[in-house]
């Protein structure tokens, strides 16, 4: 949840069928095959810290080191890691209070788990994690979930009882899933500056050997890892993993081609064919829990508050053309819930590509074409600024298509691209007219942050009481059916009102050596590297 905005295009998913198939086939081979190898992964961003709670970036390099109680698997379903099972109402792990306003989650922890320094992992670590992250002195990028908890009890070393102030169906996508902090190593320390940030202590399959800022993170195999494979052999299979920081995408491709790097994700669409054709390399397509969309700013030009104008946008934009311009990889969508989820609504109001209909709607609403071909009403021209993140090639390509599409119906769009903090500030403050970009979510998305009246990512100042009500219902119940009903209704309402126009899904392209066995990508906003224990390189 916390990482929704910065992690656009950052994680992936294979189709369920392929994923299952490859697990069965490769898993069977694993026993007979050799183990070992050193996998070097290229990352396109600079790592600021190795503390998962301090960084807004993905946890790629840390995921093999730090473990949480739960983790999202390849199908975006939570599975137990340091917990013995995923708590649910059915298995008694979650108990909702009689008044339906609070809940208690009991985590049963895995026994015989050791930190990298040999100390045992216990429920005290779970409690400490909450206290440390919640601490106001700790400047964290990810504190979500801490405020929902009122207290934690640890009746014995392997039981943590977490008292929630509200019914939080999204409990799994925050705090204890990101990672558990070692109490014995961090108690009394300043988490903002502690050595933990460059050499984190975890329970995971790999240990941080060296972190060189701006260069790489080198991990080595944890010989005392708690997990064993089906045959009782100790995991992980790989001897070592390296994460190399390569900011330039062309250089990253050169590194893949020269074999200096064996894996890289978010390969630019334009380079996919080239890489796929290389001997020893394959490109895996992943349907991430992410979608591209246009947001209309309700604090912006008055015309954007006119539903007719927004409908005209919806009909005028050729989403198929956008997908085609992006190599044909992204899929055209009609709702903000990506089709991977069973809450995806197929029956929302649709706006098929039609210049005629867009023109008719604008004509009927009284927008007449001026001498320059741009429509206007009462002296107000339909001319807007459109913002995308500067330098993001895929987005800039889509922006060109959108500008051309709207020109055809008499609406003028001028590029207004920004980068870095300026871009984030503009999006947050809503100093844009129209915004094109993408969101990625966790396995149990919270849509109110985007579309709720008080949503933190609602920079467009959109407010609709009915949507607020539906989202509140969906986000405060553990009843899957009730949640689904509310989410379906939310999508219908959203597409009627069109504050945001969903365009395509996102596909993350992972280039990887064909020697890597057992690799299955992860579609959520966590990371691909949450489950690396069973990977190995064929010799």
């Amino acid at each position: 949840m916390a990482k929704q905005q910065r992690h656009q295009y950052s994680t992936f998913r294979n189709s369920v069928r392929t994923a299952l198939l490859s697990t069965i086939l490769l898993g069977g081979m694993a026993a007979a095959q050799q183990r070992g190898g050193t996998l070097t992964v290229g990352l396109s961003y600079d790592i600021d810290t190795l503390n998962v709670y301090s960084t807004g970036f993905l946890h790629d390099a840390v995921a093999p080191v730090i473990e949480g109680l739960l983790a999202p698997d390849k199908n975006a379903k939570y599975v137990p890691v340091l917990a013995r099972e995923v708590p649910t109402v059915r298995n008694g792990g979650i108990k909702v209070a009689a008044d339906g306003k609070t809940m208690v989650i009991t985590y049963k922890l895995r026994p015989n788990v050791k930190w990298h320094d040999g100390k045992p992992f216990t429920s005290a670590d779970v409690k400490f994690t909450w206290e440390a992250v919640k601490n106001p002195k700790f400047i964290a990028e990810s504190k979500s979930g801490t405020e929902d908890i009122s207290r934690i009890e640890t009746p014995d070393p392997l039981t943590a009882v977490v008292y929630y102030k509200r019914v939080a169906p999204d409990f799994a996508s925050t705090l204890f899933t990101f990672g558990i902090l070692p109490r014995h190593a961090l108690i009394g320390k300043d988490l903002n500056t502690d050595v933990y940030n460059t050499k984190p202590l975890g329970t995971g399959p790999f240990i941080v050997k060296e972190f060189r800022r701006g260069q790489y993170v080198a991990l080595v195999r944890n010989p005392n890892y708690w997990r064993k494979d089906a045959k009782g052999q100790s995991l992980p299979y790989l001897d070592a993993m390296n994460f190399k920081i390569i900011p330039d995408s062309n250089t990253l491709v050169a590194q893949l081609r020269s074999g200096e790097v064996q894996m890289a994700y978010n390969v630019p669409y334009a380079q996919v064919k080239q890489l796929d054709a290389l001997a020893g390399m394959k490109v895996v397509q992943n349907k991430v829990l992410s979608w591209q969309h246009l947001d209309f700013n309700f604090k912006g030009p008055a015309a954007l508050r006119d539903i007719a104008v927004r409908q005209a946008f919806a009909h005028a934009i050729n989403r198929g053309a956008i997908s085609k311009a992006l190599g044909g990889y992204p899929q055209v969508i009609d709702s903000v819930v990506v089709p991977v989820f069973d809450t995806y609504n197929r029956n929302v109001p649709r706006y098929p590509y039609s210049v005629t209909r867009a023109n008719a709607i604008l004509d009927a609403a009284g927008y007449r074409r001026g001498a320059d071909g741009i429509r206007a009403k009462n002296g107000q021209r339909l001319s807007f600024r459109i913002m995308v993140q500067a330098g993001r090639a895929n987005d800039e390509v889509a922006q060109q298509v959108i500008i051309a599409n709207l020109k055809a119906v008499g609406i003028e769009l001028k590029p207004d691209n920004k980068s870095g903090v300026a871009f984030r500030e503009a999006r947050y403050n809503g100093s844009y007219d129209i915004w094109y970009g993408g969101w990625i979510t966790s396995a149990d998305p919270v849509y109110s942050v985007f579309f709720g009246s008080k949503g933190v990512n609602n920079g467009q100042a959109y407010s609709n009481p009915r949507i607020d009500q539906l989202l509140t219902r969906a986000e405060s119940t553990l009843d899957a059916t009730a949640q689904r009903t509310a989410l379906l209704a939310f999508q219908t309402e959203l597409m009627k009102d069109l504050p945001s126009l969903p365009l395509t899904t996102n596909i993350s392209m992972i280039a990887v050596t064909d020697k890597l066995v057992n690799f299955v990508p992860n579609p959520t906003n966590m990371t691909n590297f949450v489950d690396v224990a069973e990977w190995y390189l064929r010799r």
Binding site: M1, A2, Q4, Q5, D46, D48, T49, S54, G56, P136, I139, A140, E141, S142, K143, S144, G145, E147, T174, N192, T193, N197, K209, E210, R212, R213, G214, Q215, Y216, A218, N242, K244, I245, I246, P247, D248, N250, T251, A254, Q255, R257, S258, G259, E260, K418, S419, G420, V421, A422, R424, E425, A426, R427, Y428, V446, V449, G455, V456, N457, G459
Partner: protein, 317 residues
């Protein structure tokens, strides 16, 4: 030249630096965004926490107060902490300065060793095929985009022939001098290339200039051997204007080769600057820009001093 002159020049730098810092600070604060915007649209950072951070960083105070705090801190060596990484600014700068100086220094020497002979040869063989060849090559060098050339070299040396690493500063887990040298070759050559092109043009025109001077003609007329005329009399004088150019270009090394460092994943000042800029990391940015200005002023001074040493007729009062 005397000590007085040096002291005067050094003293003159202070108001200049102060002025520079004032302008830089002003520009940074006028630019959209603050360091906290990184958290602004993050649902997990509450408005109260944001306010707390704003207070902690002193961002709630008016710009001029912030400026005074900063100047005081800067002078007393309290450069603060990077907002992005939480590391002390001094450590950030030192960590990135080393790689930049290594890369810049190597390319600098390389360029010098190539540019001077090329310029001299070009001037001596004026209007010959050699001269045209060198001139053509240097114009090619000046106009060739760095990123393109870098990509071509990476493709040839790393992908095709697998002779050199395409990026990075060390092999993971290695870092021996030989390993470092192998990683240095491509970026240093790329960086040197542009300088060679420019400097050899300077050297050529300076040499041509000197060769047409009366004293050179006199020396030749006296029957001195050509070699002696060229290398003892002409070259020494022709190098004078080069000193200024080269000393000033030295400042460019520290301010960083942003593009080259990004392409070759070289962990230097250039990349630190870009990352800090994108995050509006004021403490790091200001420190970097002040260091850059200081180095520029110092290399300016050095060029004056070098000039005076090379040509004793020039004196500063």
């Amino acid at each position: 030249m005397n000590v007085n002159f040096l002291l005067k020049r050094l003293a003159g730098m202070l108001p200049l630096l102060l002025g520079v810092s004032l302008i830089l600070f002003g520009i940074l604060h006028l630019a959209p965004g603050t360091p906290l915007d990184v958290y602004a649209d993050n649902p997990s950072v509450s408005p109260e926490a944001l306010e707390q951070m704003r207070l902690a960083l002193g961002l709630d105070q008016p710009a001029h107060i912030q400026y005074f705090h900063w100047v005081r801190g800067f002078l007393t060596g309290e450069w603060g902490y990077s907002i992005r990484t939480g590391q002390p600014v001094t450590r950030e700068v030192v960590e990135h300065l080393g790689p930049t100086l290594l890369l810049g220094g190597t390319s600098f020497l390389l360029a010098l060793l190539l540019a001077v002979p090329l310029g001299v040869v070009s001037a001596l063989r004026r209007s010959s095929a050699v001269d045209y060849g060198i001139t053509f090559a240097s114009f090619l060098g000046i106009s060739m985009p760095v990123f393109w050339l870098a990509l071509m070299l990476q493709l040839l040396f790393s992908v095709q022939w697998r002779l050199l690493p395409s990026a990075g500063m060390t092999t993971i887990g290695d870092g021996s001098p030989l390993d470092l040298a192998r990683h240095l070759i491509l970026p240093a050559c790329i960086l040197a290339f542009a300088n060679v092109a420019g400097w050899s043009r300077y050297m050529r025109s300076s040499m041509v200039d000197v060769l047409s001077q009366d004293y050179v003609r006199t020396a030749k007329a006296k029957g001195l051997p050509g070699r002696q005329v060229v290398y003892r009399h002409a070259l020494r004088n022709a190098l004078l204007p080069m000193i200024t150019v080269i000393a000033l270009d030295f400042a460019g090394i520290v301010s960083g080769a942003v593009i080259t460092e990004t392409i070759f994943a070289w962990p230097g000042i250039g990349r630190l600057f870009i990352e800090s800029m994108n995050g509006r990391d004021y403490p790091v940015l200001l420190a970097l820009m002040m260091i850059g200005s200081l180095v520029l002023l110092i290399s300016n001074l050095l060029s004056d001093i070098a000039y005076a040493i090379a040509d004793p007729r020039i004196s500063y009062e």
